[in-house]
C-alpha cells in the first residue's frame, strides 16, 4: 500500500472551543507534518478529542480554524479520501457485522467490497468478519475502527487513543503499521493520554493541558528537557546537605537520603570525597520522559 496522493499538512491556527463558560480548547496552534508520526498528548479532559473533532469538521470552533492541506476538512470534495480517522472505539452499531460496518461506509469513499474484505483481513479480524460487532472486544473494535479509517487508503491518518484496549502484541503491530505509514510519507496523528504508550512510535509531540498548548517539538527535543537526578545517602546527612547548599545544588529529602537534581553522580561523588563525607549510596536516576510530560501538563494547573 502507498498513499494515493500527496500527504497533507494538518494545521490548527488559534483554535478555540468554549462550552458555555468552559474553555475546552484555548488559542491552540500547531501543525502536523507529513512523513512522521505525531503524538497529540495530554491528560484526560485536556481537549484532545474536541480538537480532533474540530479538525474533522464534526464540531464547530468558537475561535480560529483547523485545516487539512490549507482547507477545512468539510470543504474537501471527498474528505475521507484525504484523512482517514478513527475517533471512538465504541462508535459501531452492535447489530452489524464487522464487514457490514466497513461496507456501509465504503460507498462514500469509493472503496469496493473487495477492499473491505482485504482490510478486515489486514487488521486481523478475518475470522470475525461475519460476526456482529456487539460481541467484539475493545481491541477488536479498535482494529475495526482502524480498518474504517483506512478504507480509502488515505494519505493522512488520525487516530484517537489507538492503543486503548489493544493487547501488547496488538500495540506492537499498531506501532509497526504507523511507522510504516510515516515511512511511506503519510501524515500520521495519534492522540494519547500516556506518553510512554506512544514514545516508541512518535517522531514529534504536541502536548496540551487544559486546552492550551504546553509543548510542541520533536521527541528528541522533549527528551532534552529531561534532567538527570542523583540519589545520595550518607550517615553525615547534615554535612551532605551543607555541601549541596555550598555548591548551589537543589536538593530534596527522599527516604534516608537526598535527591539532587541536575547534577551527575560523578560530580557529587567527587565533591563528597573532597569534603571527606562518607557516602553509602550514590545512584543516578534518569528522569523518564513521562516525568517531563507530567511536569509539563501539571505545570499549568
Amino acid at each position: 500500500m502507498g498513499p494515493t496522493r500527496d500527504a497533507p499538512v494538518l494545521a490548527v491556527e488559534g483554535l478555540g472551543k468554549s462550552f458555555g463558560s468552559v474553555r475546552a480548547v484555548d488559542d491552540l496552534t500547531f501543525s502536523v507534518r507529513p512523513g512522521a508520526v505525531t503524538g497529540f498528548l495530554g491528560p484526560n479532559g485536556a481537549g484532545k478529542t474536541t480538537t480532533l473533532r474540530m479538525l474533522l469538521g464534526l464540531t464547530r470552533p468558537t475561535a480560529g480554524r483547523a485545516l487539512v492541506d490549507g482547507l477545512p476538512y468539510a470543504e474537501h470534495e471527498r474528505p475521507a479520501r484525504v484523512v482517514g480517522a478513527a475517533l471512538e472505539a465504541s462508535s459501531f452499531h452492535p447489530g452489524r457485522t464487522g464487514l457490514g460496518h466497513l461496507e456501509v461506509f465504503a460507498a462514500q469513499v469509493g472503496a469496493s467490497n473487495r477492499r473491505c474484505r482485504e482490510l478486515i483481513d489486514f487488521v486481523g479480524l478475518g475470522p470475525a468478519a461475519e460476526r456482529r460487532v456487539g460481541g467484539y472486544s475493545m481491541g477488536m473494535r479498535q482494529r475495526l475502527g482502524l480498518a474504517t479509517a483506512l478504507l480509502a487508503d488515505p494519505p493522512a491518518v488520525v487516530l484517537d487513543e489507538p492503543a486503548n484496549g489493544l493487547d501488547p502484541e496488538g500495540i506492537r503491530w499498531m506501532r509497526g503499521l504507523l511507522r510504516a505509514f510515516a515511512a511511506e510519507g503519510r501524515t500520521v496523528l495519534i492522540s494519547s493520554h500516556v506518553l510512554s504508550e506512544v514514545q516508541h512510535t512518535v517522531d514529534d509531540v504536541v502536548i496540551i493541558a487544559h486546552g492550551r498548548l504546553v509543548h510542541a517539538s520533536s521527541l528528541a527535543d522533549l527528551g532534552a528537557l529531561a534532567t538527570p537526578e542523583t540519589y545520595v545517602e550518607s550517615p553525615a546527612a547534615g554535612a551532605l546537605a551543607g555541601l549541596c547548599d555550598d555548591r548551589g545544588w537543589s536538593r530534596r529529602a527522599d527516604g534516608a537520603g537526598l535527591v539532587v537534581a541536575g547534577v551527575p553522580a560523578a560530580e557529587i561523588g567527587a565533591a563528597a570525597y573532597a569534603a571527606g563525607i562518607e557516602l553509602h549510596q550514590l545512584v543516578s536516576r534518569g528522569v523518564g520522559l513521562e516525568d517531563v510530560f507530567l511536569r509539563l501538563t501539571g505545570g499549568v494547573r
Partner: protein, 266 residues
C-alpha cells in the same frame, strides 16, 4: 448523492431491525384485519347499525394499514436517524459525508422505497386474511371495486409517506427512546383522542382533519376513527391531504436539519 443512497441502503439492510418490524407490521395487520372482518361478517343481523357494510366495510378494513399500521413506518423511519445517534455512528457517517443536508436527504429518499415495501407487505397481509372473510358475506370482498382499489393502492403510498415523516421526526428528536415513546403515545393515544375530541364540536372539527393521521385517512379516503366518531365526511380531499402530509415531512425534516444536524457531534 448516489453513494449516500447506497450507504443508507446498506445501513438499513445490514441490521435485523427492518425485517423484524416488517414481520411485526404484517402480523399485527393480519390479526386486527381478521378480527375486524370477522366481526363485520358475523355481526348479528338487525344490530349492525353501527357497522358499515359492503364496499365501505371493505375500504375500512383495508384502510387499517394506515389507521392502525402507521406507527410502524413512523418508527422505522425515525430509527434511521436515532440509531445513528444512539450508537454514535453519526460520527463516521459525517466523516465520510460532512454535507449534513446530503446525509439527511439520503435518508429521506431511501425511506420512500422502504416505506413502499412496508406498505406492500402490510397491505398484502391485511388483504390475504380479511378478504376471504369479507367474501363470506354475500356482497364480497370488493377488491376490484375502484374505490376499494384506490384505498389499497393509496394505503401503500401513505405508508411510504409515513416513513419519510418518521425520518423527519427522528431528525427533530434524535434520542431513540424518547422518539419511540413519543411516536407510540402520539399515534396510539394523543391523536385518536384529539381527533374524536376535536371532531365532536363543529367549531373544531375542521381542524381535526389536519392532524397527520386524519390527513392520511383523507388521502386514502377511508377512516375507521371517522366512522366510529359518527361521520366520515370530515376528511380532507385527496390532493389537500397529500399536501398536508408532505408539509409535515418537509417541516419536520427542515427543523431537524436546522437543529439536530447543525449541532456539534460528539
Amino acid at each position: 448523492m448516489r453513494a449516500a443512497l447506497v450507504a443508507e441502503y446498506r445501513k438499513l439492510v445490514s441490521t435485523r431491525l427492518w425485517w423484524v418490524l416488517l414481520i411485526a407490521l404484517a402480523a399485527y395487520l393480519a390479526f386486527v384485519g381478521g378480527v375486524l372482518a370477522f366481526s363485520i361478517v358475523f355481526a348479528p343481523d338487525g344490530q349492525d347499525t353501527t357497522m358499515p357494510g359492503g364496499a365501505d366495510a371493505a375500504a375500512g378494513v383495508y384502510g387499517l394499514v394506515n389507521a392502525i399500521g402507521y406507527v410502524f413506518p413512523l418508527v422505522i423511519g425515525s430509527l434511521m436517524i436515532t440509531t445513528e445517534f444512539r450508537y454514535q455512528t453519526i460520527t463516521q457517517s459525517l466523516l465520510v459525508e460532512p454535507r449534513r443536508t446530503v446525509l439527511l436527504a439520503g435518508k429521506l429518499v431511501v425511506a420512500i422505497p422502504l416505506g413502499l415495501v412496508y406498505g406492500l407487505a402490510g397491505m398484502a397481509a391485511l388483504v390475504a386474511v380479511s378478504a376471504p372473510l369479507l367474501a363470506l358475506k354475500g356482497d364480497g370482498a370488493f377488491v376490484t371495486d375502484p374505490d376499494v382499489l384506490a384505498v389499497i393502492l393509496l394505503g401503500v403510498v401513505v405508508t411510504a409517506l409515513w416513513t419519510v415523516i418518521g425520518v423527519g421526526f427522528g431528525a427533530v428528536l434524535p434520542n431513540q427512546v424518547a422518539a419511540v415513546v413519543v411516536l407510540l403515545a402520539f399515534t396510539q393515544f394523543v391523536e385518536p383522542i384529539a381527533r374524536l375530541a376535536l371532531g365532536a364540536f363543529d367549531a373544531t372539527s375542521s381542524v381535526a382533519r389536519f392532524l397527520p393521521g386524519a390527513a392520511a385517512d383523507g388521502l386514502i379516503g377511508a377512516s375507521l376513527i371517522g366512522e366510529m366518531g359518527g361521520g366520515s365526511g370530515d376528511l380532507l380531499p385527496r390532493w389537500a391531504a397529500l399536501l398536508v402530509l408532505l408539509g409535515y415531512a418537509a417541516v419536520l425534516a427542515g427543523v431537524g436539519r436546522l437543529t439536530t444536524l447543525r449541532r456539534d457531534i460528539g
